[in-house]
Point group: C4
Chain length 361, copies 4
Amino acid sequence: MAEALADYESQAAAVLPTAVRDFVAGGSGSETTMRLNRAALDSVTLVPRVLAGVDEPDTTGSVLGSELAMPVAVAPMAYQRLLHPDGELLLARAAAEAGIPYVISTLSSYPLEKIAAAAPSWFQQYWLRDRALLTSLVHRAAEAGCTALMVTVDVPVMGRRLRDVRNAFALPEDVVAANLVDITTDAHAAASGVSAHTAAAGVSAVAAHTASAFEPAVSWRDLEWIRRESELPLVVKGILDPRDARRAVDTGAQAVVVSNHGGRQLDGAIASIDALGPVVDAVGNDCVVLLDSGIRSGTDVVRALALGASAVMVGRPLLWALAVEAVDEALGLLRREVRDAMLLAGCADLAAVAGLTTGRA
Amino acid sequence: MAEALADYESQAAAVLPTAVRDFVAGGSGSETTMRLNRAALDSVTLVPRVLAGVDEPDTTGSVLGSELAMPVAVAPMAYQRLLHPDGELLLARAAAEAGIPYVISTLSSYPLEKIAAAAPSWFQQYWLRDRALLTSLVHRAAEAGCTALMVTVDVPVMGRRLRDVRNAFALPEDVVAANLVDITTDAHAAASGVSAHTAAAGVSAVAAHTASAFEPAVSWRDLEWIRRESELPLVVKGILDPRDARRAVDTGAQAVVVSNHGGRQLDGAIASIDALGPVVDAVGNDCVVLLDSGIRSGTDVVRALALGASAVMVGRPLLWALAVEAVDEALGLLRREVRDAMLLAGCADLAAVAGLTTGRA
Amino acid sequence: MAEALADYESQAAAVLPTAVRDFVAGGSGSETTMRLNRAALDSVTLVPRVLAGVDEPDTTGSVLGSELAMPVAVAPMAYQRLLHPDGELLLARAAAEAGIPYVISTLSSYPLEKIAAAAPSWFQQYWLRDRALLTSLVHRAAEAGCTALMVTVDVPVMGRRLRDVRNAFALPEDVVAANLVDITTDAHAAASGVSAHTAAAGVSAVAAHTASAFEPAVSWRDLEWIRRESELPLVVKGILDPRDARRAVDTGAQAVVVSNHGGRQLDGAIASIDALGPVVDAVGNDCVVLLDSGIRSGTDVVRALALGASAVMVGRPLLWALAVEAVDEALGLLRREVRDAMLLAGCADLAAVAGLTTGRA
Amino acid sequence: MAEALADYESQAAAVLPTAVRDFVAGGSGSETTMRLNRAALDSVTLVPRVLAGVDEPDTTGSVLGSELAMPVAVAPMAYQRLLHPDGELLLARAAAEAGIPYVISTLSSYPLEKIAAAAPSWFQQYWLRDRALLTSLVHRAAEAGCTALMVTVDVPVMGRRLRDVRNAFALPEDVVAANLVDITTDAHAAASGVSAHTAAAGVSAVAAHTASAFEPAVSWRDLEWIRRESELPLVVKGILDPRDARRAVDTGAQAVVVSNHGGRQLDGAIASIDALGPVVDAVGNDCVVLLDSGIRSGTDVVRALALGASAVMVGRPLLWALAVEAVDEALGLLRREVRDAMLLAGCADLAAVAGLTTGRA
């Protein structure tokens, strides 16, 4: 039993190897940005309304054609079998049960088709050096029934996550980048993907794999290309500068995700919640704005929406819950927290949340 | 002996069960707002005046027809028999002795009539689902001689107080919601009220009772109804947004209490003291503004008045004092602190306090 | 040997009874203002100048006709025999040696005449209820050769210093308010002055004495009276509000001391250094402005002067040094720190210090 | 192996005498400014750009005619043989290998000629009382092939570094101010230079030497003189006030270094990074602005450049690395961090870094 999402982290600590815990928990560099995400969220104060006559708040919303039981999506996260043998399947099914979208990671440890069959999903696309493989994934996602294509743009290279480096973290043999297997000529080599990379001096095996597989030099032209290549709604994840948000919209994005990758990419980057306002000001009328990085409670969801987000993405807490087979409970808890926070803030629906006054402590 | 109100908390800790301590001490969620109440008050700096020729400051004031020996009222707090067998009676008598109003909680553990007979009181009204019961209480309060009706509007549902959930906190058998007994058909069931509710998964017994007994969907129309139903001066407690303060006044409220319920309702809500200024700006000329949540010393009282409050409400410190049979001493100490702070700030009376300059550290 | 003024506090701790340490170290209430004094000073940043061609900075100045070897005066502090048998005599001689004024406290434990004979002094006047005694002190100070009369206006009543209350602090028999002895009818009773007061419930003996001996209701008319009564330059100590500074000047004060009494009076009061700027803006052209409360180093002296003070007063560190017979060394160290800070900031003289840019960290 | 520059400090701690560690690590006074340097850098947030199409960022730049492989120079630091027998030679060669300038200290423990022969260098000039010696050094630097003359202007006297005073720190016999030997009449006395100074009361031997050898009263006229005396590009190090920056440029400086000497001179001085903006605003169009003090990572380099610096100087971390013979690794790590931070911030080159938006946490 957990009473708050934070409880899952300590529960998971009891069952996970240290290196896996660190892989999930860690940020890049001195983890300044990771800490900043929380500090900035905690400093956002809400001014609740009263006597709003709300019996049961309507937590539902609609984003990119998906109906959401609450304004939350499961953030794309790699290698979920690190946490539980059923990994992505378990979490995706819980998301479906909870009525929210699950975002399949390019680096999922089950094939995207298998996950998409289990639950309504969006597909998160990393930019692979191998254009054929990349193209194939874009089409596989659509064919598998994913309803949105989320292109992550903040990983030209993996941020240096010192915990992983110090742990010489490498994937266990049975956890592979499953989406990258089938279409290669040497299935085994691809299947073993990351695990084939060993930790070199100053580089974790995961980072080595990323460096070899990901294309750093992605550009707006590439985004245009993928926009044409897929008919799915395009979501650009990892935007912090409003100029980039504007350009993403002009390039055809239907949504942007304000995110610093949970403090795992550029250490020193602005807290996501602090970047949200300027992005909303720039493109809020023209596209959906999602907020990612640091969300840990229903109050955080309300904070993000009061500052202009349409929904948030939640990551690490669900991995901790996955490790202790409590994802249904975790999502139920979060749903309840969102509902209670809305009720306590006098909000009948998400539009009312958007109208709350916020301050800074 | 206590030298500061804070001393009572440690003294009470020695005599109370952990679950009762936590019930009193705790806030909702991660207790961000509860901590914020103190941090914000501590950061309010005062600029004292000198050579004001004050021999003995006049700490008295008048609020809603009540004469106050100091600008303080005892906040409404449930189930005071948890702290002492004489509970509300003891604290109400001490308040009378100290010359300040005692506010009887809907959830008092002695019947309101018994408390009102013991001391001049106001009555705090929660919004019960049972309209007959609610109506009855409104009238009982007036008949019992209460001189103001304070409607609490920030508890559409109880905030999730994790300490209570973790403690599976339930009321002992001999502590009941005494006001809810008489008029029900099944006196015993009502009498056992909260204690009949057991702690379910993720829900304390107290919260379960609140959920079953309280009406979440209270609206401004309901406030209008109660305004008509009672001839007592109407006080609306739990206002943080100036727009709501304005509407409360327009609905007939003679006072509003700026409060976040001591950090026990919406976690993430603005500190009460930070919400005070905008509310005073909005309605300060049209109604009385009281400040609740976090007051712990005479300096805090002066801070609140310098920022525009007419008086404050004090809660937890008096419960701790109640647990060690020191409520008279506690109120005497607070009165003395208010007096000393006024003298040290060169204030002959409360109007002078209102004229102090404040800053932020 | 001490390398910084802070060292004396730990050295003194080894030789002083706890209650005396607490009497010196403590502030009022929760000591918020005492801590704030340091935090605010530490947050003042200096922008030094370079290539100023300064060989040896001129640290000297002139305040109220006194030539100062550095812009520092010894703050008035009661009962210095608590720290050392020679008490005021030792510290006053050290101040003379260091070329700075010593301010004799009304509550000195040696008669003011004896101290004034030992070193150039100013006299600090508390406002006694006994007007004859008060008048007598004013004249005795002038006759003894004191060159300024500093009226303390922030002690209508003593702040509640909880350490003293908890320690039931009382003066030892051999430490008396020596200035209050001679002119009373019952010399012994007066001599035993404070020690005759025992700690009552919630009141230290020192506070009890203050309450009985001091007049709280001092007014601007009284200040006018004392202005007429004495021909000495008038200094008003304990000003924080610029309106009071203006009125002090209009009443004939030649200097004001921006002070919160080292955090020992109104807890919650603004930090002295934060109150300085507005006071300087209000009266800086018309009188001398001194800064008191929290000064612990040469950098602090430079901070205060850069913000508009003409000089500062230093208190507690010199008492700690007195306890270990190191007052000469302490003042030499401070002089050296002032000199070094000026040299490092490129300041040839105090006027240059006043021209430094400051910021806030 | 180190994964972050911070690692070298702990590694070095295991091999260095405490007094040497403290000599390197310490700041002046209460080390407020030293701590502030880090706090201020940590609070600078970056808003990265995305989809910039950068494959491999160009970290190179050009400062004062030197081509830099990254926008970093090795700060001038005295007595590097304290850390390693090969001292300056080892670090200078590593700098050359890394493609960045090495700045030879006036107080280098190898003769400047020997260092300059080992690697492309700039020469840092302290202002010696002995004008003949000073003149000789200026010319020796040029003859030895140094390509810039960096005059340090923030050491009219050495800041009081209490760690050194408490440790009675003195140089070991085999570490001397090698540049001050040859041209004196008494070679031995000069060679033993600092070590001949013993720690006196309150003064470390190093500070005593500085006091005897350095001229405090340096002025803008002296800067003019040295400008005429040398044909090398003139860099003025230790500027914090924009008025001084302007005057340095008007006096012929081609670069200024915004520095508070790593928090080792005026304690209480503004953080270097906070002083940068105003200096850039004042002279950024007219000269090169470098930033020194507190740089510990590639993110810090990007922060400084985003705020207007052309390059930074790095000090202490390289001394720690020197102590464990890891300077090549350290500079490689820093280069990599700069590269990664640029890639993660979407910056193709240093001009792009200058265009990043920054904020404050």
